[in-house]
């Protein structure tokens, strides 16, 4: 069994308007030293499903079911106290907005030390020394002075570095990074991504990186999980999925973002309409309301039947959730020529 193994994870939130089905039957595996990228637009259930690993939905009205094995232990079965002891020690999480993720009234050092002392019975002095060491490791200049600064005195990039220091101070096996660079400039994003990769090599941790930027996934992740309306719609090795995507939503993600290299003849093809409400997701394939290819599927299948996660035509460990019989051909003949005309010229 893998280091982290999520099986059939379901997270529902009962509300006055009905049940919000934030995650439906999500499964994935992740080994130490590897990175999983979870992509999808906002509201697709990326954060909700990942915070379930830390048990952050406990004590709320959320209904969570399925299995989450971390190092062989099912995190959904153990009691509140046991999961609390694992948080920050075996699984850590960093968040999108590093300013609001830190308490404004306590110094950065105080908050990092706290994370260390929860799990280690050490004196304040020792914890402080360790904190300074960690700040130095994540590249904060003059860590012995900056340790006493408040979060608002740090720049955005430094704050995210401090969050990373806090998350890794107990050397956890799994780090969940929820859009760690969305609020940052590209140059700072590059620094943070580099840092995460260096630290991963050093600590041999598993990383889940949540993002809506396929570029980040391409650079960081070994595997990708594409989520739409609470479900995994495509899952497999990064290279496979970026080169041979077989699900129209993934095509949409690829074709709706411009690029800094490549041909300027490339067209930008938006995904029509808006993301669906998770209160009443469309029946059948949740993407059918926006899919340009549903007519290629015979009958009313797309509208009535949820496609299973099936192996991709290209093979490998790559699975997708779509009724199309020949997605590889459709992609090569209809999508690729629009978004990457240069590749065709190269080929002939």
């Amino acid at each position: 069994m893998s280091f982290l193994s999520v099986r059939d994870l379901v997270v529902h939130f009962p509300t006055v308007d009905g049940v919000v089905k934030a995650t439906e039957g999500l499964s994935y595996e992740l080994d130490r030293g590897k990175t999983l990228g979870i992509v999808g637009e906002s509201g697709s259930g990326k954060s909700v499903s990942s915070s379930a690993i830390l048990g952050l939905h406990r004590g709320t009205n959320a209904q969570v079911s399925g299995e989450i094995f971390l190092d062989g232990v099912d995190l959904l079965k153990i009691n509140d106290e046991s999961i609390r002891r694992k948080r920050g020690r075996e699984v850590s999480m960093i968040f999108q907005d590093p300013l609001s993720a830190m308490h404004p009234y306590y110094t950065v050092g105080n908050q990092i030390m706290e994370a260390y002392r929860i799990h280690h019975d050490v004196s304040k002095k020792q914890a402080r020394a360790r904190t300074i060491e960690m700040l130095e490791r994540v590249g904060i200049p003059q860590p012995d002075r900056r340790v006493d600064d408040y979060p608002h005195q740090f720049s955005g990039g430094m704050r995210q570095r401090a969050m990373i220091a806090m998350a890794l101070i107990n050397d956890p096996g799994l780090l969940i990074a929820d859009e760690p660079t969305t609020a940052l400039d590209v140059t700072v994003q590059a620094q943070i991504l580099d840092l995460l990769q260096d630290l991963q090599r050093e600590f041999n941790s598993a990383i889940i990186i949540i993002t809506h930027d396929l570029g980040v996934v391409a650079e960081m992740a070994d595997d990708v999980l594409v989520m739409y309306a609470g479900r995994a719609v495509e899952y497999g090795p990064t290279k496979e999925i970026l080169v041979h995507p077989e699900m129209p939503y993934t095509w949409g993600l690829l074709s709706s973002v411009p690029d800094v290299v490549g041909d300027t003849d490339a067209k930008l093809i938006p995904i029509r309409g808006n993301p669906p409400s998770l209160l009443s997701p469309p029946p059948g394939c949740a993407f059918h309301t926006r899919c340009d290819h549903r007519d290629k599927v015979p009958g009313d299948l797309c509208r009535t039947t949820v496609p299973e996660l099936t192996p991709a035509r290209a093979g490998g460990n790559h699975t997708k959730r779509c009724h199309l019989a020949n997605p590889d051909e459709v992609y090569a003949t209809e999508v690729l020529p629009e978004i990457a005309p240069e590749t065709l010229e190269e080929q002939g």
Binding site: S51, G88, H103, Y105
Partner: protein, 338 residues
């Protein structure tokens, strides 16, 4: 920080000057003759003229204000008129700085009147303040933690009921049952510490304090409940949870500190307002505090006392504002360090 405080105090003094001017102008714009009131029930026109002269009401407004302002800084003698002073030197009353005027109605300087009233109002205010902060915040936090439960709803509901009842009703109710009928507390009657010792002082304050506290508490229950709930949604609490911090520590170290900060402003200003006297409660329990003084002096058009009260209250509020801001800087590093 120091420069900031100086700047604020300076602005406060200017505000007080403006306030006193406005009170003077408004007072004289009114059609009622203050000298008539000051003179007493049966008064001949000559007597009225004399009183008017004695109080200086016959001179232009701005001159009166100037005398008043000088009195605040240097002190002054009454009656203001030099010839009257000469004719009856034994009746001249000296009013030391800061002199707020001389009240013919109470036959004493406003300053001395305040001296006897302030301990009463302050004792009452502080008693009520402690009760409503402890009760209001405590209940608010409990309500927030049990959000949606029966406890939450009854706390919020009951505090609303007390808020909705008029203060005099709650006061009379407590008086009737707790003091007169069941005799749990003595019928309140202000006893200073010097006269009756701490215990007597305290026991006599419970009922009027509670009356006031119940009124203020409703707001504090709702506010602290709302702030705690709001801060429970903050990202940094999610971080605290994700570090593996124990729930009790999250509540006390992270949630409460952030949630209760905004209450500092409210509490400071409420306390300042109350220090200036609780009009209804003081009347119900027959406490001779500033609130009762205010009602009485307005009823008889006692200008010097009214002006004095306005300034006193104004300075309480201004000082409270400054204190609150300084406190804020201590609590919130974003205000303190650049």
């Amino acid at each position: 920080m120091f420069a900031y405080i100086v700047r604020r105090l300076f602005a406060g003094v200017i505000m007080l000057v403006a306030m006193s001017m406005m009170t003077f102008v408004l007072f004289f714009a009114s059609p009622i003759d203050p000298a008539r009131f000051a003179c007493g029930k049966i008064c001949s026109p000559q007597q009225i003229a004399q009183v008017r002269k004695g109080l200086g009401f016959d001179r232009p407004v701005w001159e009166q204000w100037k005398d008043f302002a000088v009195g605040v800084v240097k002190g002054r003698d009454y009656p203001a008129d030099k010839s009257l002073q000469k004719s009856a030197p034994n009746l001249v009353a000296h009013c030391a700085a800061p002199c707020l005027g001389y009240s013919n109605v109470n036959v004493t300087t406003v300053r001395d009147e305040f001296k006897t009233r302030i301990p009463v109002s302050f004792s009452l205010a502080i008693m009520a303040f402690i009760m409503w902060i402890v009760g209001g915040v405590g209940l608010g936090v409990i309500a927030a933690l049990t959000k949606g439960s029966i406890i939450d709803r009854s706390v919020v509901g009951v505090s609303l009921v007390f808020f909705a009842f008029p203060t005099f009703f709650v006061g009379l109710f407590l008086l009737k049952f707790l003091a007169i009928k069941w005799g749990i507390f003595p019928v309140p009657n202000y006893v200073s510490i010097a006269n009756g010792g701490v215990w007597n002082w305290l026991v006599n304050l419970v009922l009027p304090g509670l009356t006031l506290a119940l009124f203020y508490m409703a707001g504090y229950v709702r506010m602290s409940r709302a702030f705690v709930l709001e801060s429970m949604g903050e990202d940094y609490l999610r971080t605290a949870k994700a570090k593996g911090l124990a729930p009790r520590k999250i509540l006390f170290k992270h949630t409460m500190r952030a949630a209760l900060t905004p209450l500092v402003t409210m509490a400071g200003l409420d306390l300042a307002g109350l220090l200036g006297g609780a009009i209804i409660t003081e009347r119900v329990f027959n406490y001779n505090g500033l609130g009762k003084l205010a009602v009485d002096s307005i009823a008889v058009y006692d200008l010097p006392t009214i002006v004095g009260l306005v300034l006193l209250l104004g300075s309480f509020v201004i000082v409270a504002n400054i204190v609150v801001d300084i406190l804020y800087a201590f609590i919130d590093p974003r205000v303190r360090v650049g």
